[in-house]
Amino acid sequence: MAEASLALSDVTRALGPRFLLGPVDLALEPGEFLVLLGPSGCGKSTLLRLVAGLDAPDSGTIEIGGRAASDPRIVVPPEGRGIGMVFQNLALWPHLCAAAQLLFVLGRSVPRSERASRVKEALSLVGLAGRETAYPHELSGGEGQRLAIARAIVTRPRLLLLDEPLSGADEPLRERLCGEIRSLQRRLGLPAIYVTHHRDEALATADRIAVMRDGRIEQIGAPRELWERPRSAFVARFLGLGNVLSGRSLGDGRVETALGAIVIDGGEKPRAGEAVAVSLRPEAIEIVDSGGVPARIESSAYRGDRSLVRVSVGEETLTLFSAAPPGDAGRTVRVAVRRPGVVVRGGEEARPR
């Protein structure tokens, strides 16, 4: 098995009396595109800064490309770690033109004869050929992002770190650039960590997603795995529109909930009588003509090919999709569960207020 491009072991970092990052264990495979996903303030950027060497962990070890970057005996400075980083606000130096930004980054580590071709190559890779003399204030939003990426890859780093690089871009530009970043990363075979709080961005691009919460990795896995088998109510909800119902196990692989008995998919089956939380994706619930249980429509939002409907069943509020117009708020419909659910941790605390 190839050596991990990045390995974090028991890494912790306290930021003030209230926030503790970690302990975090994480390994990044060669060429892997890992997305750190989580709400603001969960520690994604702090973790990235520890990897970059902009901040030092309180404990634990960080290895990059098999070499120690930070452990109790040694802390390699940022410039010695062989990383490229794209910052949230891009951090393009306003006094340097595009080519000068890249030349500054290359510094003396690259022979003079090679520098110009490296700059040209990096700018071409991101589609900025011909914009060598443009200053940051002369670049469009998308061009700024491209220049920041070119600056991060021109040194041919061992690891690429991207800290919400598209946060300033509008939706269409974000979608386009996100795809471009991913295809460039694949082409270069460069392991990368991408920080975002956009679920769609994470699901669309990641090899693996690490969902973070309160300084810890709540769950890590392939996008489909997280989507279909969230381990906690938080992950289910953060990945989008997840319904989490409280119920009691019947002991036979089913859980009794406000929607009736729901079949549980995979994993350990809870004991009979045990209180559990069950995650159901919106597509697992349908409005039906007959059967199911009565539900009151709270609201519905038109989404083009379907409507997003919020209904209440007893004390539970659920989200589901409906191909046909569901009717006005206040109307009573019947809903039924069509697919198995997943037992998750922390149902109560994740319930929306």
Binding site: P78, Q88, P94
Partner: protein, 532 residues
């Protein structure tokens, strides 16, 4: 006319009347000597004189070397106190600013006490060696630049620190990841502080060009002294005006440099809420500490200790206050009224520049407000005399302290405009727009939103103008009326009568007066006394 437009027009009109009209009258009159036909005679006479060119060269050398010294000390000190882990950084971030409260000629007096040819160290060495002749002469051009550089480097530190502290830390971090500390510090952090460095250097150059007190003390001839002599000794207003033109051209150079850099978008930094990046000095920590300590010892320690030693017992302070009488109150009154007027005018102008979309208005306000400061104080003083020394209502200004107050407002309003502009950046226009939509009238929005949110900046503007006015000598020496003498003038006059203990006591009282509002500000706003 809308209320907003009325405010803009009124503030511009006041600026023109107070600060620019004297200059217009001055230069207009120099072309019509004694009311005769238009002529360039006065200029021809001045420019043909070899002496004028020598004086101009002297002024240029003194101002340039003062600026060079101020930059050499001020920029590294700014970087060390703003962006590194220098030992005692917090204390030094306050201490470096102390010389701002000490007028340059007072710094020169202190150094004269310390190393002068009949004082302090010199006297001890002379006595020790048993010499009958002075070992060194404590005057000359180099010494003049040295004293002024030590007195003025805090201006460079202040404005460089402001740039360094407002930079986005991600810019340093991006450079650090790529290249390490040294290239990040020199090629990114300091390069991006260029506007602050250029502004600080320009202000020092302009102050040095105007400085009358220090060259006069050290018995060297500069253009500022020539302008004064033409007026006081010969009462030749036309010659004094013509003499000032080369000085004016010289003053335009730093002004142009400052404008160019400030307008250059390559140095425009995005606003950030994150604190600035701190560089670890590593092995350079102690040499850096030695440098900063030496700079502060020379700039703060020597002047203040010399003053305390020479001033002697407490009785001397009481004697000094009794001797100066009204001058003490005059100084406080003139400085306070000028500070208040300049702050109101400066904030209104800053508001006009920030909130009016007229093309070039912001730039015009900046240039017009700084022009009276860029013009050497002596020249401005002559302009004031030419405008206000007329019979009738004008004489009510000319013969009273009002002319001193107007002079201070004209000379220092640029600082209030700049402080106001900086403060308004923290009060986005959207706040006022939302109030406007809700039907709140303009002046209420102006007072309760724009001014209220900029209050701290307004207080800072007041303090800056108050402190500068308190120590002002170069303009006051020309325009102060009988009975309207200031403490600075009294000190300057007393130097020549060898009342050293009283002069030192008065200098300390002047410094104390200047420090007082800063202490009140620090207490009122509950802030650490760090000068950004």
């Amino acid at each position: 006319m809308t209320a907003k437009r009325a405010l803009v027009v009124a503030s511009l009109a006041v600026l023109v009347a107070v600060a620019l009209a004297p200059l217009a009258v001055l230069f207009g009159a120099s072309f019509f000597p004694e009311g005769g036909p238009i002529t360039l005679g006065a200029y021809g006479k001045v420019l043909a004189s070899g002496r004028q060119w020598i004086l101009l060269w002297n002024s240029l050398v003194v101002s340039a070397s003062t600026t060079a010294l101020a930059l050499l000390v001020g920029v590294p000190l700014a970087f060390l106190t703003a962006r590194t882990d220098l030992p005692l950084r917090r204390a030094y971030s306050f201490l470096y600013a102390v010389p701002i409260f000490i007028p340059p000629y007072v710094v020169a007096i202190c150094w004269r006490y310390f190393v002068g040819d009949s004082f302090g160290v010199h006297a001890v060495v002379e006595k020790w060696l048993g010499l009958s002749e002075p070992l060194w002469k404590a005057h000359g051009y180099a010494l003049c630049s040295f004293y002024m550089g030590l007195a003025m480097f805090p201006l460079v530190t202040l404005s460089t620190r402001a740039s360094l502290l407002s930079a986005d830390p991600a810019l340093d971090e991006a450079a650090l990841i790529a290249r390490g500390r040294r290239p990040a510090a020199t090629k990114v952090a300091l390069r991006l502080a260029t506007p602050g460095i250029v502004a600080g250097g320009s202000f020092v150059f302009l102050f040095a060009l105007s400085e009358f007190g220090v060259p006069n003390l050290l018995m060297i001839n500069t253009y500022a002294i020539e302008v004064y002599s033409q007026f006081k000794a010969f009462y030749d207003l036309d010659a004094a005006t013509a003499s000032s033109v080369p000085l004016l051209i010289l003053a335009c150079l730093p002004l142009a440099a400052m404008r160019l850099v400030e307008r250059n978008r390559r140095f425009a930094l995005a606003r950030t809420e994150r604190p600035p990046f701190t560089y670890r000095l590593g092995r350079a920590r102690w040499p850096a500490f030695f440098f900063a300590t030496a700079a502060l010892l020379l700039g703060v320690g020597v002047p203040v200790v010399s003053l305390f030693v020479v001033a002697g017992p407490f009785a001397n302070y009481r004697k000094a206050i009794a001797l100066t009488g009204d001058d003490f109150l005059n100084s406080i009154e003139f400085a306070a009224v000028a500070a208040t007027a300049a702050t109101v005018l400066g904030f209104a102008l800053a508001y006009a520049a920030a909130r009016t979309r007229g093309r070039g208005l912001a730039g015009s306000i900046d240039v017009l407000s700084i022009l009276p400061f860029a013009i050497p104080a002596g020249v401005l003083g002559i302009g004031f005399i030419r405008l206000w020394n007329r019979p009738g209502a004008f004489n009510l200004v000319y013969s009273t302290g009002a002319i001193v107050v107007l002079g201070f407002v004209a000379r220092f309003v640029a600082f209030a405009v700049r402080a106001g502009s900086a403060a308004l950046r923290h009060a986005p226009e959207a706040y006022e727009e939302s109030a406007a939509v809700a039907g709140v009238p303009f002046f209420k929005r102006f007072a309760r939103i724009a001014a209220r949110l900029s209050f701290r900046g307004i207080v800072v503007a007041w303090i800056i103008v108050f402190v500068l006015s308190l120590g002002e000598l170069n303009l006051a020496i020309l325009v102060a009326p009988a009975g309207g003498q200031t403490l600075s003038l009294r000190i300057f006059n007393m130097i020549h009568f060898s009342y050293n203990d009283l002069v030192a006591a008065l200098c300390l009282l002047l410094v104390g007066l200047a420090v007082l509002p800063v202490a009140v500000f620090a207490l009122a706003f509950g802030r650490k006394p760090e000068v950004r």
